[in-house]
Chain length 92, copies 2
């Protein structure tokens, strides 16, 4: 058994869903990973040992609209920061 932060999938899902609304200067894999890492450093982690509980933890973030909105805000802030400070090779 390996421990696992369920928020990794939750935040990754939100980045994918909102990709066209984040006004990114670059949508490459590296920039998306930078946004993901920055966002996860701001969001409270939810580590689990038993993967069978993952749907239960994820469901909380599907149902709780306020919590979802909070994560979208964190992702938008991270996206603005990454867009202004790109680390990828697509620097124009």
């Amino acid at each position: 058994m390996v421990i696992h932060n369920v928020m990794e999938e939750v935040v990754k899902g939100i980045i994918t869903d909102q990709l066209d609304h984040l006004h990114l200067s670059c949508k490459c894999e590296r920039c998306q990973e930078d946004i993901l890492a920055l966002s996860l450093n701001k969001v409270t982690p939810r580590y689990i040992v038993n993967d069978s509980r993952e749907p239960l933890v994820k469901a909380k973030y599907m149902i709780d609209r306020q919590e979802q909105a909070n994560i979208v805000t964190v992702v938008a802030q991270a996206a603005a920061l990454v867009s202004a400070n790109k680390r990828c090779s697509n620097i124009q």
Copy 2:
């Protein structure tokens, strides 16, 4: 490249170092993973994209004795909780 929470190794290292001082009722892998997951939910995450930066982030926790002491406290609290509520198969 895959994002990665450096605190996973930091907390895992502290659990291994302190294993004999945590007064655990069971030292099995499952109980150690439960302590790790519980501790990581309380400790601020430090996600990185570039693994070459990992030693830099880890060094902060080697040098900062106060930060190290804070993590040991979190681990001790998680260990007490897991010892009192074992989920493994070694229940006596």
